[in-house]
Symmetry: C2
Subunit: 234 residues, 2 copies
DNA sequence: CAATAATTGTGAAAAATTTCACAGTAAGGA
DNA sequence: TCCTTACTGTGAAATTTTTCACAATTATTG
């Protein structure tokens, strides 16, 4: 049991977002950044960021170098260039989260939301490969102009199997969501990001599901606002 | 300090999602449901659900009824109708999260994603009122056919102020996201749901921000998959 | 070159959250 | 009526996660 290799879920999720942020900062031409600055950008306390980062060096050295163990990622001290070097930090997080080799994904449902996702720049960046997109409407498939290969939904299982697609992004109408998810799972998908406004049930506990729900977000936001209101007055 | 009124954040977020689920189950004509069944549907352990629900009755009785205090929400025992009555449970959660009076929202950016959100059924359900949608393109504004009032982006501040809009949903291109957020905050918005692929910085800590990020979700999913892979082999 | 300022890294303490385990409750059947 | 079954509700224990506090480190300034 390589228990060491599993990160605390909150840490994993923060690192995953930090990874995205670091990429953007790099594109801005920045070289290094402090935990304090990251803290402001991410809305997470600086000590939490440092603690999260401390998980990166577990099991890095294969041999137990008794001394010099303390090789941290960041450079202490004041002045320019102090803090965490963007590039190497990003690389390290990527390695720890398994973001180094590209994953294959497919998109199911080419309504407005699907097309929005189809056109995202992320597919040009090389970390994720959108190798297929599906829709029921032949018309829709013909009208869309894109480099991503488009298929009719009836081809779903075949294509997912053939290309060993790992991640499915669900942007179908709510009525179709559960059935589509079942088909994806049946075809061997490993993870689903669900944008349809339904609560998916997936039997297999090998499949990771992330629900992205506008209604959920609205409710969470409202609840926080309500708590603010309570605090302020009675 | 009404400390009792703030829920633990994980509980708050689970209840917010549970609220959505309960609505859907009600539409299915169901009357009651057990924590076990909810557990399967939500992917959250049943005891966690029961614990979350136990926060609902804090401070319900204004007078400290020393006896009969234990008035729970759900009905124990076997047979049909046991478990939590859908309707009253949903009402109770709604009351606790402040979901009883409708909140006003606006949508900024009418690209594919914006239009997808514009057309969601949630705006017909009465809990949230989408009172305005904005875009830069006059053309776009004319072409769209919807009951939601559409405005040119230059009207943003005026409309947000006038209607005292509480929640802003950001679906603008990444380049415009930060500036738009600043304008919303300046106009007195209280919460932002950001769908643009940027990390927003909002100074005011009175404004609640929820970032919905495809890249983030993909990274989180991949990281979980990677951990699975690690577990399986060496 | 010494003092200063800004920053990391981390054990240990504190706080928050989840899990456990079981007493209590009520329907339905024997 | 009494037993069985299927639930809830919850203190207390266990676990996880966050926070704290400070020693260690290094560019920069006086």
């Amino acid at each position: 049991m390589k228990k060491d290799s599993t990160l605390p879920p909150p840490t994993l999720e923060r690192l995953a977002r930090l990874y995205v942020l670091l990429g953007k900062l790099q594109n801005l031409g920045l070289q290094a950044i402090s935990s304090k600055r990251l803290s402001e950008l991410l809305g997470v306390p600086d000590h939490t960021i440092r603690k999260d980062l401390s998980f990166l060096k577990e099991g890095q050295g294969i041999e137990p170098f008794a001394e010099k163990e303390k090789a941290g990622v960041g450079k202490p001290g004041s002045g320019v260039g102090r803090g965490y070097p963007l590039e190497s930090l990003r690389l390290l997080i990527g390695a720890r989260l398994g973001l180094t080799h590209p994953r294959t994904a497919c998109l199911v449902g080419l309504g407005n939301l699907g097309v929005a996702i189809l056109n995202r720049r992320i597919w040009q960046e090389g970390v994720y490969r959108l190798v297929a997109a599906f829709d029921l409407s032949e018309n829709r498939l013909e009208l869309l102009s894109t480099k991503i290969p488009l298929y009719h939904a009836r081809e779903l299982e075949r294509v997912v199997r053939n290309y060993r697609i790992e991640i499915g992004i669900l942007t179908v109408p709510p009525e179709a969501a559960q059935e589509t998810a079942d088909r994806l799972v049946h075809a061997g998908i490993r993870g689903i990001i669900n944008f349809a406004p339904v609560v998916l049930t997936v039997k297999s506990n090998r499949v990771v599901v992330r629900n992205v729900s506008l209604a959920g977000e609205l409710n969470i936001l409202s609840a926080y606002l309500y708590q603010q209101e309570e605090e302020t007055h009675g």
